[in-house]
Symmetry: C2
Subunit: 235 residues, 2 copies
């Protein structure tokens, strides 16, 4: 934090949850800058692109040591790589997908994940029409082989793209095999006790769509109110 301090990785520092939540977005913007060939950027220019304040950017990025210099700006590659390390993206994460339906296959097919170190090792399903096929070279296996597969392969993340009726049973089996990180698309909450060191990141698509429709509907109601003020209300 002090001026003139030599740059060093500040691994011991605790970074706030709010900053963490914003890191992937910084990472995305910095990646785009690299693609465009930009080597350095001022907090003001980055702020403009990201539609946040320059002061927020300076505060957030100060957490990661002295990458910004007065009159020079941020070194895009250093910052990108440092944030990537924090996000664990410099490491390989092996992922499996339970549920090889359209959504599971769409995720398996998504090239961006591999670019960020997320390597999908297998999909699992109960459907005999799917078992034995591959998606982008990734095998679809029988979910009955799950335990056996997890004994032979080091997997860090399990993705659940199965109906909620099957999610609980599979969740229990995966936990029993030592899986601790779950990317959950099933339309239900996975029950985690406080003492369990289990991490669940939910993607509830229906709920996301409902939040959107609420805002559209809410805006529509405001317009109606503008049209007929309270005193003109009909009984």
């Amino acid at each position: 934090m002090e001026k003139g301090t030599e740059k060093k990785p500040e691994k011991e520092k605790k970074i706030s949850a709010a900053v963490i939540g914003r890191l992937p977005r910084y990472y995305r913007y910095l990646g785009e800058l690299i693609e465009e060939g930009t080597e350095r950027i001022s907090s003001r220019d980055l702020a403009k692109r990201m539609k946040v304040t320059a002061s927020q950017i300076r505060q957030d990025l100060n957490n990661f040591g002295g990458f910004g210099q007065q009159g020079y700006g941020y070194n895009v590659r250093s910052l990108y790589s440092e944030i990537g390390k924090l996000l664990g993206i410099d490491q390989q994460h092996n992922v499996i997908i339970i549920g090889a339906g359209r959504l599971g296959q769409a995720l398996a097919n998504y090239a961006n994940f591999a670019k960020r170190g997320f390597v999908i090792k297998a999909l699992f399903d109960v459907n005999p029409d799917l078992i034995g096929n591959t998606v982008k070279g990734i095998p679809i296996l029988d979910v009955a082989e799950l335990e056996d597969f997890l004994k032979k392969n080091e997997i860090q993340i399990a993705t659940l793209t199965i109906p909620k009726t099957q999610a609980m049973e599979v969740f229990g089996r995966l936990k029993a095999c030592g899986i601790r990180a779950f990317w959950n698309f099933a339309h239900t909450d996975l029950p985690v006790a406080d003492h369990e060191k289990i991490f669940v990141e939910n993607v509830h698509l229906s709920e996301s769509l409902m939040r959107l429709s609420y805002r559209v509907y809410e805006a529509g109601r405001s317009v109606e109110k503008e049209k007929k003020p309270a005193k003109g209300k009909e009984e």
Copy 2:
């Protein structure tokens, strides 16, 4: 709010963004209770299921009038229907999907959306191999026909499941046709000026996965720290 007041819809009341954010989850749990045949539930039992406090539930649901009664609990169906109305789910929302790749097709195929009033009217793509096909009876059209289609059909929500390189152009075309609500899966932020009445709900899948990996990696670092306390650190 007063005791003994007759139940009536409180349309004029402004509900906080935090409560709104929680509504889809209430809606989901209430839907499950209906499926199970539960007619009423106490705030305590609902709190237990949802892993929140009973006091939060009472505060949140008080926003929607007198559905909870001392010693009786909440009428599950009334509350479900009232929250559904707030979320705009009692109305039909016509949706299009731009990008008929695996993700677009997965969304088109998702039965839960129709159940909540989101009716997918068409998918659009540039790929001649896809154009002319259907997904669950929904046609895949040429994206060149977009403007023509939007003139003839009332569409409220556009879903973007296209690469970020194409997202900006399509976003501009959709806005020009009067679309105001965007469900954005493209790996980029859609630029919305403050004065525009445009609503964007982002689903950035890579970022969700990175937040998960951060937590896994962070937990791993904590474990390492527990194993070797600072004084035992090797140089």
